[in-house]
C-alpha cells in the first residue's frame, strides 16, 4: 500500500484522521470517496494482511505450539503485531493496586489497529439501547435515535459485508431487505444448543458477522452507497471484486489474506487509497491537537516513533479515531492558556464514564457430542450462532436483580487442535495414559462447549481516566491513569450469566465444569473484552457532554471524535458496527459543514 513518509506530506489537508482502525478507516473512507483530501496518522507500523497473514499455518510451526504468552496474549497466530496489554515504552498506570479496580488497555500498534484482530461480531444497537436512561433511569440517553443511525447501519453492513438473518426479535433490529449476506449453516454444537435451549426459553439464532459468506454484489451495492458519484462507484466495485468469499477455513482472528472478512486494512483503506485522496503516515504517534489564537484546531503535533522527531501536520478539520482512551489522552495533553484542562474539556467530562463490556464465562462437556463422525466444522472462522438478550419482559416486570442485558457467544466443536487439546480431561478419563488415552482423546475431542456472556455495564463515576501526574511515555508525553470499579449491577449480571450457561449445558445433556462462581470471581477485568468506549461522551449541551451527536466537540467546531469515545452507554451489542455507522454519519456531517463553509 502506498504509505508515505512525513516529509512527503502536503502542507495542508482538508481533514486529518488520527487512527486507522474501524473508526479511522470508516472516516477516511467516507471522506475520501466524496473527494476530501485526507491525511491518516497511525501510531503503529504498516501492515498488509494479504502478505502477512499466517492463513494455513499449524501450531506445530509456531513457538510453543502457538500457545498464548505475554508477547502474544491471544496466541501466536493472533493478527495483532507490535501491540498488546503492555507495550514497552508506552505505559499506562492504574490508580489502584486492587486487581478488580484495574483497567486493561489493549492497543494494536499497526495499520488497521484492532480491526485486524476483531471477532467480526456485528450487532446493531436497538431502540432501547439509544434511550437506556428513559427506560430504567440509569446512565444517559444518547442524543439520537435508532432511526437516525439505521440508514448508516445498512450502509456499513453493505460495505463491509455482514452475514446473518433478520429474526425480528425485541430490540434486535432487522437490517433492510437485501443488506445481509446469507447466514452459514449452524455447526453441530450450535444446532444442539438451538434445539435444547429453546426448551428453557433461550433463543439461539444465527449471529451477524462481518465475513463474506458469498461475494458481494459489486454491480449494485456501489451505486446504493454512493449515488451520483461515478468515481466512488467504480472504485468500490473494483475493491469489492478484489475480495474473495470465505473459503470456510482459518480463524478470522489471524486476519484474512483473501479479504473475506472485514478489517480496515482490506476493506476501508484500499478503496480510500484508490481515490488518490488519502495519504497515510505510519509510526506517527499523535501527541496533541494544535490550535490557533481563536481556539480553532489547526492540526496535530505528532512524534515519528522511528526517529523521535516532532512533526506538525495541518488541516481544516481534525478527526480523532485512535481508540476512545487514546482520544482522551490526546485531548488532555492538548493544554493551552485557553484550554488549561485540555482541549474540548470545558465540561470537565473528558476521560469520564469509560466503559467496557461485562464478560463472564463458563464451559462444560456434552456427552452427545462425543465420538461424532468426522466432519469439517471450521466454517466462517468464528461463530455462526448466538443468543441475543431475551429477557426484556422479565426485566421490565422486575424479576431480575440487575439492569440491562447480555448476549451469549458460545463455541466448541471439532476446531483445529491447539496446545490445550486433550488436556485436563482426567476427570473424564480417570487418568488414562497410553493407547487408552489416545482413544479417550478421540472420544472427548469436540465435546466441550464454552459460553461467554457479553453484557451491558452501567457507566459510573468511579470508572474514568486522567493524565498520570508523573509517568510519561518514552517520548516524554504524559500517560493515562485508569480508575475502575464494577458495581453490583455487573456482578449480579455475571452470576445470572453463569446460571444460564449451566442451564443450557444441562438442557443439552451436558454438565458445567464447575459451580456458579460469585460475580467478582468470574467477571473479566475492566477493558479485557476490548470494547473500550466512553470518555468523550456525546450529549445535548456543552455542559453535559464533550461532543454533539456527530462527534463534534462543543468547544472546538473543527475537532471531531469518531471512535467509541462519544458512546454514552455500551449496549451488550459489540460496539464496532455502531462505531462505524456513527463514523460514517459524522463524516457525512463533516462533508456538509465543509461545503457550507461552517468549519
Amino acid at each position: 500500500m502506498p504509505i508515505i513518509t512525513a516529509s512527503k506530506t502536503q502542507p495542508s489537508y482538508d481533514v486529518i484522521v488520527v487512527g486507522s482502525g474501524a473508526a479511522g478507516g470508516q472516516t477516511a473512507y467516507t471522506l475520501t470517496m466524496e473527494g476530501a483530501k485526507v491525511l491518516m496518522l497511525e501510531a503503529g507500523r504498516s501492515y498488509d494482511p494479504v502478505r502477512e497473514t499466517p492463513m494455513f499455518n499449524t501450531p506445530d510451526q509456531a513457538p510453543l505450539r502457538g500457545s498464548n504468552t505475554p508477547d502474544k496474549y491471544f496466541g501466536y497466530y493472533d493478527s495483532t503485531v507490535s501491540g498488546g496489554w503492555d507495550i514497552p515504552g508506552e505505559p499506562y498506570t492504574s490508580a489502584s493496586n486492587e486487581i478488580e479496580k484495574q483497567f486493561w488497555w489493549w492497543r494494536a500498534r499497526m495499520l488497521g489497529g484492532r480491526s485486524n484482530h476483531w471477532g467480526r461480531i456485528s450487532l446493531r444497537n436497538g431502540n432501547y439501547d439509544f434511550k437506556p436512561k428513559s427506560r430504567d433511569g440509569l446512565g444517559f440517553d444518547w442524543p439520537l435515535n435508532y432511526e437516525d443511525v439505521a440508514p448508516y447501519y445498512d450502509k456499513v453492513e453493505m460495505l463491509i459485508g455482514v452475514y446473518g438473518t433478520n429474526e425480528g426479535l425485541e430490540n434486535t433490529p432487522n437490517s433492510s431487505p437485501g443488506v445481509l449476506l446469507p447466514a452459514p449453516k449452524l455447526r453441530a454444537n450450535e444446532l444442539l444448543a438451538q434445539k435444547h435451549a429453546k426448551k428453557i426459553g433461550v433463543p439461539v439464532i444465527p449471529i451477524h458477522r462481518a465475513v463474506l459468506s458469498t461475494k458481494q454484489d459489486a454491480d449494485n451495492v456501489p451505486q446504493k452507497l454512493h449515488p451520483k458519484n461515478a468515481k466512488a462507484q467504480r472504485i468500490l466495485a473494483q475493491a469489492m471484486r478484489e475480495r474473495s468469499a470465505c473459503f470456510w477455513a482459518t480463524d478470522c482472528g489471524r486476519g484474512c489474506s483473501i479479504k473475506a472478512n472485514y478489517q480496515s486494512t482490506t476493506v476501508h483503506l484500499p478503496p480510500a487509497l484508490a481515490t488518490g485522496n488519502l495519504d497515510i503516515v505510519t509510526n506517527a504517534m499523535v501527541r496533541e491537537v494544535s490550535l490557533d489564537d481563536n481556539g480553532k484546531a489547526t492540526g496535530v503535533i505528532c512524534i515519528d516513533k522511528t526517529t523521535g522527531t516532532l512533526h506538525h501536520f495541518k488541516a481544516r478539520v481534525i478527526v480523532l479515531a485512535p481508540s476512545s482512551a487514546e482520544s482522551v489522552r490526546i485531548l488532555l495533553n492538548s493544554k493551552s492558556a485557553r484550554f488549561p484542562q485540555g482541549v474540548a474539556n470545558s465540561s470537565g467530562l473528558v476521560g469520564k464514564y469509560i466503559m467496557d463490556t461485562v464478560g463472564g464465562g463458563l464451559g462444560g462437556q456434552v456427552p452427545l457430542l462425543e465420538s461424532l463422525p468426522l466432519h469439517n466444522e471450521d466454517g466462517a472462522g468464528g461463530s455462526h450462532a448466538y443468543v441475543p438478550w431475551w429477557l426484556y419482559q422479565e426485566q421490565k416486570a422486575g424479576k431480575l436483580d440487575f439492569p440491562r442485558g447480555y448476549h451469549i457467544e458460545f463455541g466448541g466443536g471439532r476446531m483445529m487442535p491447539n496446545s490445550n487439546t486433550a488436556t485436563n480431561i482426567d476427570r473424564f478419563t480417570q487418568g488414562s495414559y497410553g493407547k487408552e488415552f489416545k482413544a479417550d482423546a478421540r472420544r472427548y475431542y469436540g465435546s466441550m462447549v464454552g459460553f461467554a456472556g457479553r453484557g451491558e455495564m452501567i457507566p459510573n463515576d468511579d470508572s474514568f481516566c486522567e493524565l498520570d501526574p508523573t509517568v510519561k511515555d518514552k517520548w516524554g508525553t504524559p500517560v493515562l491513569k485508569f480508575h475502575w470499579k464494577w458495581s453490583d449491577y455487573e456482578l449480579k449480571q455475571v452470576e445470572h450469566m453463569q446460571r444460564t450457561f449451566t442451564a443450557i449445558l444441562e438442557s443439552m445433556g451436558g454438565k458445567a465444569s464447575r459451580p456458579v462462581a460469585p460475580g467478582i470471581k468470574n467477571i473479566e477485568p475492566g477493558g479485557k473484552i476490548i470494547h473500550e468506549v466512553g470518555g468523550t461522551i456525546m450529549g445535548t449541551t456543552a455542559r453535559n457532554s464533550v461532543t454533539n451527536q456527530w462527534g463534534q466537540t462543543w468547544d472546538v467546531k473543527n475537532l471531531f471524535i469518531t471512535d467509541g469515545g462519544p458512546f454514552v452507554s455500551n449496549a451488550d451489542k459489540n460496539p464496532t458496527l455502531t462505531i462505524m455507522a456513527l463514523a460514517w454519519r459524522a463524516s457525512d456531517y463533516i462533508l456538509g459543514e465543509l461545503s457550507r463553509g461552517n468549519i
Binding site: 504468552t69 507495550i87 471450521d378 488415552f437
Partner: protein, 223 residues
C-alpha cells in the same frame, strides 16, 4: 524502582496483570506491599511483540533449550508411555513432542498458555518429576526410567497417573504426570499426524460450508 522510569512501570504493570486472576494471594500481597525483589524481569528473551508469523520455527531457535541429556531421555520415554504408537498414529516422540516439551520448559516467559499460570512453578514441577521418575526407577528396579522394560514403567506410571486417587507419597509425582500428560497431548495433537488421529479434518479451503452431514444430525437427534 524509579516511578518515573516508564519501562520500569511497564514491568510492574505487566507483572500485576499476570496475577490478575491468579489464586496466589501470597504473590499478590507481595506486589501490593511494594516488594520489588521477587518481581521477575519483564519478558526478555522471548520472540517479542512483532515476530515473523509466516516462518516455521524449531524448538531452540528463539531461546536455548535447558534439558540435560538424562532429562531428555526420561522425557522421550514418558512421551511414548503416554502416547505410544497404535494403529491410528505413531508415538509422540516420533513426531518430536520431546523437543516441544524442552522448548516449553526452557521458555523465558512468566506464563505460558494461561496468564493464570506461573511458568517458573510449572517448569519446576516438570524438572522435579523428570528427576523423580529416574530416582524412583532406580530405587524400584535399579535402572533409569528409559531403560526399564514396559511392565516396570507401567508399574510406576500406574501409581502417579491420576491425581485424585494417587497415594499421599505419590501426590507430587502425580501432579507432575498430569502436567506432563497435558504437554504431551498438546504437543502431539497439534502436529499433522496428531490432528489426523484425533479426527480434525479442516484447515482446507472449501467451496461451500454444508453444516453437519446427515449421520451427525441423526446421532444428535437433529435429523
Amino acid at each position: 524502582m524509579n516511578p518515573t522510569d516508564p519501562i520500569a512501570i511497564d514491568r510492574r504493570m505487566a507483572i500485576k496483570w499476570l496475577f490478575a486472576a491468579a489464586s496466589s494471594l501470597t504473590l499478590m500481597d507481595k506486589l501490593h506491599a511494594g516488594d520489588e525483589a521477587p518481581l521477575p524481569q519483564f519478558e526478555a528473551g522471548g520472540y517479542g511483540l512483532d515476530s515473523n508469523l509466516l516462518k516455521t520455527y524449531k524448538p531452540g531457535e528463539v531461546w536455548p533449550l535447558i534439558l540435560t541429556p538424562t532429562q531428555r531421555r526420561a522425557t522421550i520415554a514418558l512421551c511414548d508411555i503416554i502416547i505410544p504408537a497404535d494403529n491410528h498414529s505413531p508415538s509422540a516422540s516420533s513426531v518430536g513432542v520431546q523437543d516441544f516439551i524442552n522448548e516449553w520448559v526452557s521458555a523465558p516467559y512468566s506464563w505460558v498458555g494461561s496468564p493464570n499460570s506461573n511458568h517458573a512453578e510449572a517448569k519446576d514441577v516438570i524438572l522435579y518429576g523428570l528427576d523423580w521418575i529416574d530416582s524412583e526407577s532406580k530405587r524400584r528396579f535399579g535402572a533409569s526410567f528409559a531403560d526399564l522394560i514396559s511392565s516396570q514403567q507401567h508399574a510406576i506410571c500406574d501409581d502417579i497417573c491420576y491425581t485424585a486417587t494417587a497415594k499421599p507419597e505419590f501426590k507430587k509425582a502425580a501432579t507432575f504426570f498430569s502436567k506432563f500428560r497435558n504437554l504431551t497431548a498438546g504437543g502431539f495433537y497439534t502436529t499433522p499426524v496428531g490432528m489426523k488421529d484425533i479426527g480434525y479434518v479442516g484447515n482446507i479451503p472449501l467451496a461451500s460450508f454444508d453444516g453437519p452431514p446427515p449421520e451427525v444430525l441423526k446421532k444428535l437427534g437433529l435429523a
